[in-house]
């Protein structure tokens, strides 16, 4: 299957998490914090810390370590607090 990472087509396989695809592609950070704009990526890896939040198909605040990818998913970095449009 193919997914988009910040607009770039990337090959993924069934059962990969969004974090698995991103780290596999060498991306270590895909979020910036609300106040300090600090870069964040995976920390706990098991759905507890909410540091790995990412935007999937326009929906913000998705834990990259918990979300399994689906064909055509549009994955992009989350900057600060993203409000629903």
């Amino acid at each position: 299957m193919k997914v988009l990472i910040d607009g770039k087509e990337t090959v993924a396989v069934e059962g990969q998490t969004v974090a698995g695809v991103l780290l596999g592609a060498g991306v270590t950070s895909w979020r910036t914090t609300r106040d300090g704009g600090r870069p964040r990526g995976v920390f706990c890896g098991i759905g507890v810390c909410f540091d790995c939040l990412v935007v999937v198909n326009g929906i913000a605040d998705v834990r990259a370590c918990q979300r399994l990818v689906r064909d055509g998913d549009d994955i992009r970095a989350q900057h600060g607090a993203e409000l629903p449009s």
């Binding site: 964040r40 706990c44 098991i46 759905g47 909410f50």
Partner: protein, 447 residues
């Protein structure tokens, strides 16, 4: 029709579901993971083959989060949402049960240190989960640091996926600790064999293992480029002049585990020493609620499974089934608990870690609350109670709800009861407002 509801699909939850199912009662097993196994038996989610089987009377609900628990006449109502993580497309379901088994497990305890929020700093559990579940290595040159035997299997998993493990740093002095508890040491002989196997593998790969050493700072701008490792005094303050810089692209830290308490707290189960208090039948202080596994004390997968078996049988008995007494599991649980007590005594976290922090070191990662601000608020505004401290500083109010920082915040500010302060979460898992507003749907499935 009455049935047992088990929350958690790890060693304890699976064993509970099997035991209750074998006793002839209907079981609903709810797990947040995509595959059964929990953290210890994590399956590669990319592989098609399923390692675990459940008896026919067990309904398995994966990808499902229990977001609230409420008492109802004769039992508890379990509110579940099922579907892809954190999306709006999940479906809701509420189930009433007179016999609830909580097996929600634990997660790595991380201590704050300067730079710990840089990408490339992971918990040991993250490195393990990504290696086992995704075949991903968190870095090319990886350093492991913390305390406890769990660092060794994580090092093994990292080697398995081709990472270079540049060292395993144990902050404590575990040999002394183990020898001090000969009863516990004997009880854990099986475990020691397993650990010896990991140690031999590390030796083959020439991975250095250092005691009384820790990572006290991570360096980098957008990600970790190096860390400072230092020798520790017995109280975990840094030995002056012992710091050295180690070039790495990932560092994994783990200082034992924190139990996932919110559902037990929501059910008003009594706690003891930060864990859920249970009797020999794994019954909590609340009628109809049982707890098993790391939620009741950290002792590993074997003990968790034994406790799960006992809890499942107890829950089935409450529904009127007559299962045979789980004699083997009871024996295993007894020995396992001795091992757990020895483990706990051998790997204490010493207060000196506080001296690793600087004024600007974030303690609460979510709300970006630095150490200096936290202490100033606690001091100046006398915000010593957990609730007022949270409101004044915002520490523990972010999306993780204090799961990561709660224990550290409590220790740094003198809050006595971290578990009760930070595990009281009426909404146990984040929900979207749309989900909350959604029509509640059909009536809850009856007792």
């Amino acid at each position: 029709m009455s049935r047992v509801v088990v929350v958690g699909g790890g060693p304890a939850g699976m064993a509970a579901a099997r035991a209750a199912g074998a006793a002839g009662v209907e079981v609903l097993l709810v797990d947040s993971g995509a595959r059964l196994g929990g953290q210890y038996h994590r399956q590669d989610s990319r592989a098609g083959t399923e390692r675990f089987t459940l008896p026919s009377g067990v309904e398995y609900l994966g990808d499902s989060v229990v977001w609230a628990l409420e008492p109802v006449a004769g039992g508890h109502r379990v509110h579940v949402r099922t579907g892809p993580a954190d999306g709006p497309g999940r479906t809701g379901r509420s189930v009433d049960t007179p016999a609830l088994v909580l097996a929600t497990g634990a997660y790595d305890r991380a201590l704050p240190f300067p730079g710990w929020d840089l990408p490339g700093v992971f918990t040991a559990g993250a490195a393990q989960a990504l290696a086992k579940g995704q075949g991903v290595r968190v870095g090319e040159r990886v350093l492991l640091a913390g305390t406890g035997p769990f660092l060794l299997p994580v090092a093994r998993s990292l080697l398995d996926v081709g990472a270079r493990v540049v060292g395993v740093l144990e902050a404590g002095e575990p040999v002394t600790g183990w020898l001090a508890r000969p009863g516990g040491l004997l009880a854990g002989t099986g475990k020691l064999g397993e650990l010896a196997g990991h140690a031999a593998l590390l030796a083959r790969h020439r991975v250095p293992y250092r005691r009384r050493t820790a990572v006290v700072e991570a360096h980098g701008t957008d990600r970790v480029e190096a860390v400072t490792a230092a020798r520790l005094n017995p109280d975990w303050t840094v030995v002056p002049g012992s710091s050295r810089r180690v070039e790495v692209d990932a560092v994994c830290v783990g200082f034992g585990f924190t139990p996932q308490l919110e559902l037990a707290v929501a059910a008003r189960c009594a706690l003891a020493g930060g864990f859920v208090a249970v009797d020999v039948a794994q019954a909590t202080s609340v009628r109809g609620v049982f707890a098993a596994g790391e939620l009741t004390g950290i002792g590993g997968a074997e003990l968790s499974a034994a406790e799960g078996t006992i809890a499942g049988a107890s829950a089935a008995r409450l529904l009127g089934a007559r299962p045979a007494p789980p004699v083997r599991a009871l024996r295993k649980a007894r020995t396992g608990r001795r091992f757990a007590a020895a483990l706990d005594a051998a790997h204490p976290v010493r207060d000196g870690w506080r001296s690793w922090l600087r004024e600007d070191t974030l303690v609460c990662r979510c709300e970006e609350v630095p150490y200096g601000e936290l202490c100033a608020a606690a001091r100046e505004r006398e915000a010593y109670g957990g609730r007022s401290l949270k409101l004044v500083t915002r520490a523990g109010l972010g999306p993780c709800q204090g799961r990561i920082c709660g224990r550290a915040v409590a220790e740094l500010t003198g809050i006595q009861d971290a578990a009760a302060t930070f595990a009281r979460r009426p909404i146990a898992a984040p929900l979207r407002l749309g989900e909350l507003a959604e029509d509640p749907g059909p009536q809850p499935e009856a007792l």
